[in-house]
Symmetry: C2
Subunit: 339 residues, 2 copies
DNA sequence: CTATACTGCGCACACGTGTACGCAAACAAG
DNA sequence: CTTGTTTGCGTACACGTGTGCGCAGTATAG
């Protein structure tokens, strides 16, 4: 009943050899007779031996694992990135440790400490704020770090990022081409660099088209509630300040767009007839919402895979510690019916 | 530049003691003078020592980690469960290994093998099929296994499950109470036990109300596309077989419901006026969809936490290997506008 | 002042695996 | 037949931590 773990020593005893010989046989290294090797492999398979990666990691100083830190998995944006990371890791025989950091900065530190204790070979961090001392801590642990959609300077900091500016530029250009003239932007107060880039593109595209980039409002976060609050904000501003409603609204992301549309609809405003609305990301539901969302598709899963691929490159090539890797990825415009 | 990892031996040397003394000092065990202990702790903090959980795991035979296997993270259902599992694990100083099994059975085996090699203390499996030989393999590795929304017999198999039958019963009862009489069910061909339970509840509720439980159709999977295909299927059956449209449709889950509604709308059918539609799960978007979905809220995050809590109980209490744990959780009816 | 108990630590070993080195036997070359 | 080379392993140690045991010194009891 109490199955004792089998080790290479057990195999060694059964095969009548020493345990280093077993180690070499299993890894296909060293010199030995074909007969011995075959015998060892047979025995290993018979008794159902599974190597202990933890013991191996102890001696090789490589755990073959990476830590993945994310603010919140329940967010479809992050979970798709995680899926991409995991797929690529699994393909290359790496395992990933999961940790959610929520919004608590103290928790981020704790998470990093724990990864460090687990001796992960690298760290992938998605959409964190990585501010101040946190970045300092990351420096000290001396392992490669790949940031996804986050910017930070540092010796072993590398990044995979999406071209938010280019994407938003395209999206706004599409609205301009479609004849919209009063184009507002709904931002996210908690968004960091991504918000800034998209907003900048919105302003630039309008200026370039000779249109005013003045109608700007914000929601408290990038979720549905954020879109709801943001849209209420917009309606108020339109009435009190702008004089009239915009004819198009560029939202920070799809989720906010959906929240915003629910408010517009409650006000009796039709989308896109009374106001066109665009999202960003192309989350799954975007295609099935009413109206189906015109948006910018961000290749989230591919970004996750790219981050892991970059990590593996960093772990394989030992010496290139000085060169900073940066991989910018591009999405595509998805025109549906909301704009 | 090349920061060598610091170990308790380094601390021992600096403090002028042996490394076992350092080990005991850090863990607050053993007998030693307050002076020595304080000195060791100070030095450890000064040089930024982080214990190696992998070395510790090797000797204690406890990795303080559990494996989490899920078919696909991108699915909001699973990602919320994962979030719950992770939250509770983090609270209790456990780490979790992530692995997605996709739909490939060979991959499931590979994932389990890998967890085994990592010497995880336990395994949490969410919504797998766990069929045949796979269950056998799980038996052999001799560690506790907690299944979420999956049923399987076995020595160290335990489960956290949602009361699908009760939930669906409530939901259908709500429709009956609201006056609907021709109530159809849209199932998922890939759903396993969950589909079966919900469908059985649908049939039972109708029979109990003296209504016919005949209008049954299926989609190929539980996602948006599954709902789309299922609704097309329904329209065809209604025309060719049932004679007329049902006045209400109970869908396997929210995602399918959204897919189905998009088809109904394209046919000029209003929800709930021409046909009421219910979902299941209460995913985030359900409240913001048009019409907002009447559904059954499944406490996904709490289920994840419960699974991890159960796992910790199993790991703490050594001897109770014979008692099988089963934790059934209940959701709640959420009435919005779609039914 | 001796017998006993307790304090504060070190020694030796264990966990499961990888690897540098060396040594005997077999083989090849002269 | 000697000398060098290759083959096929074993020996010894390492990785970083935990733990049972024992031993010298000190405090306590009688």
């Amino acid at each position: 009943m109490n199955k004792k773990r089998v080790s290479i020593k057990d195999i060694a005893e059964l095969a009548g050899v020493s345990h280093p010989t077993v180690s070499r046989a299993l890894r296909g290294e060293g010199r030995m007779s074909d007969d011995t090797r075959a015998r060892i492999l047979t025995i290993a398979a018979d008794i159902g031996y599974t190597p202990s990666l933890i013991a191996r990691g102890l001696v090789t100083q490589r755990s073959h694992s990476v830590g993945l830190a994310v603010t919140n998995f329940a967010d479809p944006f992050h979970s798709e990135i995680a899926q991409g990371v995991e797929e690529e890791a699994q393909r290359r025989q790496y395992s990933i440790y999961l940790a959610s950091t929520t919004v608590d900065p103290a928790r981020e530190l704790e998470v990093v400490r724990n990864f460090q204790a687990r001796r992960v070979d690298g760290l992938i961090v998605s959409s964190s704020r990585v501010g101040g001392q946190y970045a300092g801590l990351l420096q000290e642990i001396g392992i490669p770090i790949v940031l996804i959609n986050t910017h930070a300077e540092g010796d072993n900091m590398h990044m995979v990022a999406h071209d938010d500016y280019g994407g938003a530029l395209n999206l706004v250009q599409h609205l301009v081409d479609a004849g919209y003239r009063r184009i507002a932007f709904l931002g996210n107060q908690r968004g960091g660099k991504a918000v800034h880039e998209r907003q900048r593109a919105w302003a630039d595209a309008l200026v370039q088209a000779g249109l005013p980039a003045e109608m700007l409002c914000f929601g408290p976060n990038g979720r549905f509630e954020g879109g709801v609050a943001g849209a209420r904000n917009l309606l108020k501003l339109a009435e009190e300040t702008w004089g009239s409603l915009p004819d198009a609204l560029v939202c920070y992301n799809d989720t906010m767009a959906i929240g915003a549309i629910s408010v517009l609809r409650a006000q009796g405003l039709g989308v896109p007839d009374d106001m066109a609305v665009t999202g960003f990301d192309d989350v799954d539901v975007a295609a099935y919402f009413e109206p189906p969302l015109t948006t910018w598709r961000q290749p989230r899963r591919a970004m996750g895979r790219a981050a892991m691929t970059m990590m593996l490159e960093l772990l394989d090539g030992e010496t290139n510690g000085t060169h900073r890797h940066v991989h910018v990825m591009h999405g595509e415009l998805v025109v549906r019916r909301s704009a």
